[in-house]
């Protein structure tokens, strides 16, 4: 009988220690959400490179919260140390009220250490390095006026900031982090949020990447609504060829100007331009390939799983998160609309030479936003190729959102 009782106690203890005993209902809901995100990534292929690691990180942290656990230090007496078979001579000691305690450190979870790259703002600039290696700034150099469209799309960020502040639910720092979602640039959103409102990193990163993945669904209706058939049918003239020297000088000039005018944007813009210089110089092919492939992929895995791991049930399932998701969508739609409206201004100013559809590419989801301009333009005129024209505002949007991030950091980060 006593044996049975002991067996029952062991089973009860195991049940208490297992996930079934420790997890709350919020964790199970989050596991469900992570399954939906995995479905979207695998079946619908919505930004799978990021959404899949994010979803899996989210799933794992809600099943085993310890994976994101902080390192802890326990103060043990000599007797407790010996009980645990620990050698006291290898530990540092603290004396409290004449009693000697040994500092026994428990290491943190795996994701805690990987997360340090996000927390310390290391991963986003490294992602920008890879993006720089893959970006062709040729269309922007050939048509520098595209910069205006890249700036116009950032207007959505600042308008959303006003609305988020007016709601009264968020502090100015939190409002700034939410507004940056409108830039449609995941690494920038993470970079700003880790510095201004790290507690909101999970919902903001998930919202930013989700909206980037949903560009093909969100943007076209706004673009069609704000433009006429005539405007959408505009065929733009061919871009001039850009010489190699111009391509090499571009990253150097941009980094000098941006870093001098806005030092807070320097980590992002600097790494973006370093990557681009690797590409355009043509003399560091090995580094260029590593930065845009292996390094970028490794960082993407670390960034994805750890960002997903910040979305624990208790943090994520709040009214605040619903507000962030809603405001993020608003910011993104507003950025698209501002880009298209500025495109219309350029259409009028140039006497109908600029197709306003390229304005929506000013949000920096590269190259998806440019592809949407191309697609919507071709719906009106199958012989219209807007892609290279849209790539100008698209890459300008990357620089523009990094500059907007610099403004938010320099004003709100103090």
């Amino acid at each position: 009988m006593e044996i049975l009782q002991q067996l029952w106690q062991i089973i009860c203890h195991l049940m208490e220690e297992s996930g079934f005993g420790k997890l709350s209902w919020e964790n199970y809901v989050m596991v469900g959400i992570s399954f939906i995100l995995m479905y979207l990534a695998i079946k619908k292929q919505f930004e799978p490179l990021l959404l899949l690691p994010i979803a899996f990180g989210m799933c794992l942290v809600n099943l085993f919260p310890g994976i994101m656990g902080l390192p802890t230090t326990e103060m043990l007496t000599e007797a407790e140390m010996l009980k645990r078979n620990l050698d006291p001579s290898t530990y540092t000691t603290t004396v409290v009220n004449g009693m000697t305690y040994y500092n026994h450190t428990e290491y943190g979870g795996l994701f805690y250490y990987l997360y340090q790259g996000v927390k310390l703002g290391i991963y986003p600039p490294l992602i920008f390095l890879g993006i720089g290696c893959m970006t062709d700034f040729g269309p922007l150099i050939a048509n520098p006026k595209s910069f205006i469209l890249g700036a116009a799309a950032q207007v959505g960020i600042f308008l959303t900031f006003i609305i988020a502040t007016a709601m009264g639910l968020f502090s100015p720092q939190e409002a700034g982090s939410i507004a940056i979602i409108g830039g449609a640039d995941g690494p920038t959103a993470i970079f700003v949020t880790t510095k201004l409102a790290p507690q909101l990193l999970g919902p903001i990163a998930v919202a930013a990447y989700s909206y980037m993945a949903l560009v093909p669904i969100i943007q076209p209706p706004i673009m069609r609504l704000l433009t006429t058939k005539k405007e959408r049918s505009v065929v733009m003239g061919q871009l001039r060829p850009v010489s190699k020297l111009e391509r090499i000088l571009f990253p150097i000039i941009v980094v000098v100007i941006v870093a001098l005018l806005l030092p807070d944007a320097a980590p992002l813009v600097g790494m973006l331009m370093l990557g681009n210089l690797f590409k355009e110089s043509g003399v560091v092919d090995r580094i260029n390939k590593t930065a845009q492939n292996e390094l970028m992929n490794i960082i993407t895995i670390f960034l994805g799983v750890t960002v997903g791991a910040t979305a624990t049930g208790t943090v994520f399932l709040t009214l605040q998160t619903a507000g962030i998701i809603g405001l993020g969508l608003f910011a993104f739609c507003l950025a698209t609309a501002c880009g298209v409206l500025f495109g219309k201004i350029m259409y009028a100013a140039t006497g109908g030479k600029v197709n306003p559809l390229i304005g929506s590419a000013g949000v920096s989801a590269v190259p998806m936003a440019a592809r949407i301009s191309q697609k919507v333009g071709q719906e009106e005129n199958p012989g219209n190729f807007l892609l290279m024209h849209a790539m100008g505002p698209n890459v300008a949007g990357v620089i523009g959102s990094a500059v907007a991030a610099g403004v938010l950091l320099s004003v709100l980060g103090k």
Partner: protein
């Protein structure tokens, strides 16, 4: 209210800074592009003077039946652009413009602005979804 005042100031500062930084970049990029282009053009003009006859000029009737069209120009004999290539270009132009009135005035070689791989990338991106 204090927060709102700060928010409006940030809104204005944001507009001003983002636009002014990008406008500075427009000015700088435009200026240095012009300088580089003019320097490179000066060098090119010398080369072009030597290779003046390389340009192939083709005058074609409205391309109703592009495959039947055979360019007959003296320059074609230089072997710069083979007749088949011109026929393919004419066919492609006809495929795009179809029934619309069109005329190929000249076919000339341009300096490749990007590598074959980069063009393949562009082609990949322009492919319909």
């Amino acid at each position: 209210m204090n927060n709102m005042t700060e928010a409006f100031i940030l809104l204005l500062a944001g507009f001003v800074v983002v636009f002014s930084v990008l406008i500075v970049l427009i000015a700088v990029v435009t200026i240095y592009s012009k300088i580089i282009t003019s320097i490179q053009n000066a060098g090119k003009k010398k080369k072009e003077a030597r290779n003046k006859n390389k340009e192939v000029v083709v005058s074609a009737p409205p391309a109703k039946a592009p495959t039947a069209y055979v360019p007959q120009t003296q320059d074609e004999d230089d072997g710069e652009i083979p007749g088949e290539i011109i026929a393919v270009i004419a066919a492609a132009v006809d495929a795009v413009y179809g029934e619309k009135k069109h005329r190929i005035r000249s076919v000339r070689k341009t300096r490749a602005s990007r590598s074959a791989w980069s063009r393949a990338g562009v082609l990949d991106n322009t492919r319909p979804f």
